[in-house]
């Protein structure tokens, strides 16, 4: 077994020490294999191995019709399924030049923003758990996420993989009385976000673990094509909902929070502020929703004209993109998914050079990746 010798002094001989944060580990988010090489407690190098969750979704898509592939997109970023459905359906509608009714657009915005809240809750909860606040913020976040999931259960029938969006509309209209429940949830959630801030944001132990850890400079962020809250925490104000508005996002007033340094604390703070802004969007959307037809019954086989289309939307984790090439038949010729966590993970091996082992976990938690997207 070869060893890498660090110092060959006769009095202080030291070697590299390699640790596998292997595929099964309590704090890599999913099946991720990190091969860390250490010098004592400091990390010298980190090699990332992915592919343990590969399910060949892009190849399966070449044998399924466009409606049949929607349940598969749920399972990409399984924490925020509605956003994945939305991006795929918008890409197919762009390929077919289809317009949807206004009510469908408002419903899609409400559902997408509620799912963004749910996804950020998991990001915050698991980040706090990785740092050692074992389970308490996580339980609080899951308690709030349970309320969102119950709302989705009433709307579409499933709790995690929804299959709600359809090409041209949504699966079914909102049931009666749901807007009272959503309004009550918004009020309840606003008080709980203040609780999380009191528990974590200015806590001196949390600051010592997250401030100035894993600083991502603006140039590095742009050159690694990082998107989403990680990019905004480094100081670049880029949000697809404001810069290339899709659906009806240009009708709502909301801020795009940015950070200053690009460290782990900034990424956490940006997510908390985005939570609040998403609640604002849902409130405005519920107040202004128009009437109209929304339901699309499945069964029609869509045959888009031959051509290609690429569409990107703002997922909670970054920019999700679908590139569809159609040759005129019922199944796509090629479907390519641009996953946000894939690019976000690539910057890990640069960020961990020179930090302690405990910080590797902290940086990985703050990047907020999900293996379902990376491996597809």
């Amino acid at each position: 077994m070869e060893v890498n010798v660090i110092s060959n002094d006769r009095d202080l001989y030291s070697e590299e020490f390699s640790i596998n944060m292997g595929p099964q580990h309590p704090s890599t988010h999913g099946v991720l294999y990190l091969d860390l090489r250490l010098n004592g407690e400091t990390v010298i190098d980190c090699v990332t191995h992915i592919g343990y969750l590969h399910r060949s979704m892009e190849k399966i898509a070449e044998n399924r019709t466009y409606t049949q592939f929607i349940p598969f997109t749920d399972r990409l970023d399984y924490v925020a399924s509605m956003n994945n459905n939305l991006c795929y359906v918008l890409a197919v509608e762009k390929l077919m030049n289809m317009e949807v009714s206004d009510r469908a657009k408002y419903i899609r915005v409400i559902i997408a923003e509620l799912n963004r809240v749910a996804s950020h809750l998991i990001a915050i909860g698991t980040f706090a758990q990785d740092l050692g606040a074992f389970a308490t913020p996580l339980f609080y976040c899951f308690r709030e996420r349970e309320k969102i999931i119950e709302i989705f259960d009433e709307i579409c029938g499933n709790r995690l993989t929804y299959n709600y969006m359809r090409i041209g509309g949504v699966q079914s209209d909102l049931p009666k009385g749901i807007d009272e429940r959503i309004k009550y949830f918004i009020k309840y959630m606003r008080s709980k976000v203040d609780d999380y801030e009191a528990l974590l944001t200015n806590n001196i132990i949390f600051l010592a673990r997250a401030k100035n850890i894993g600083i991502l400079s603006k140039d590095a962020a742009v050159s690694y094509s990082i998107t989403g809250p990680n990019l905004r925490a480094s100081g670049i104000k880029w949000d697809l909902r404001k810069d290339e508005p899709y659906l009806v996002y240009d009708k709502f007033k909301f801020d795009v929070p940015t950070g200053e340094n690009g460290d782990a604390w900034d990424r956490y703070k940006v997510r908390i502020e985005e939570l609040r802004q998403s609640l604002n969007i849902v409130e405005q959307a519920i107040a202004g929703i128009p009437e109209g037809p929304v339901t699309v019954k499945p069964g029609r086989i869509y045959k888009p004209p031959a051509g290609e289309a690429y569409l990107r939307t703002e997922n909670p984790r970054g920019e999700l993109g679908f590139y569809i090439v159609s040759d005129g038949s019922a199944c796509p010729y090629r479907l390519k998914i641009r996953a946000p966590s894939f690019s976000n993970l690539a910057v890990l091996s640069e960020l961990v050079k020179g930090v302690k082992v405990a910080d590797v976990v902290s940086i990985l938690g703050s990047l907020d990746i999900l293996m379902g997207e990376i491996d597809r």
Partner: protein, 146 residues
């Protein structure tokens, strides 16, 4: 030096703020249910297992064609008077992804999704269900619906 003293004062204050939040949760009522003595009712739209009303089925094969994973299998026969009747209607629960497309595409609402969600079995054969038999879901409890 100033930084050191500032941290010394602000640190304990932030810690006490966190302790107050936890204490408020400590004295409030717990929200979990004691399963299996207390269960939650399902919503009307909940997608459980695929179920069939055999007298309404017109054997159009739409559900078989639309299923993304191919878990439904139908065979029918035609009598000389051009009357169709179902021979088998098989449902492979291992492949089902509970997407609900078969329920939405059926023109006569013969295929629907019931509310059963507690499906633990001892062998894989029990997951291949013949939806035409009368005791297809007898071993699993039917939960309450809101």
């Amino acid at each position: 030096m100033k930084h050191y003293l500032k941290n010394l004062i602000l640190g304990p204050i932030s810690l006490i703020q966190g302790l107050i939040v936890t204490f408020k949760n400590l004295v409030s009522r717990a929200i979990t249910l004691q399963y299996p003595t207390q269960k939650q009712p399902m919503t009307p739209a909940f997608r459980g297992l695929v179920d069939l009303r055999p007298d309404k089925c017109i054997m159009c094969y739409q559900c078989v064609k639309i299923c993304p994973t191919g878990c439904l299998a139908i065979r029918h026969e035609e009598s000389p008077e051009k009357k169709k009747s179902l021979v088998t209607f098989e449902y492979n629960m291992e492949l089902c992804c509970f997407c609900g497309l078969c329920e939405q595409v059926c023109p006569t609402i013969a295929v629907y999704m019931n509310k059963i969600y507690e499906i633990a079995v001892y062998s894989r054969k029990e997951l291949h269900i013949n939806l035409l038999s009368t005791d297809k879901y007898a071993q699993w409890a039917n939960p309450t619906v809101k």
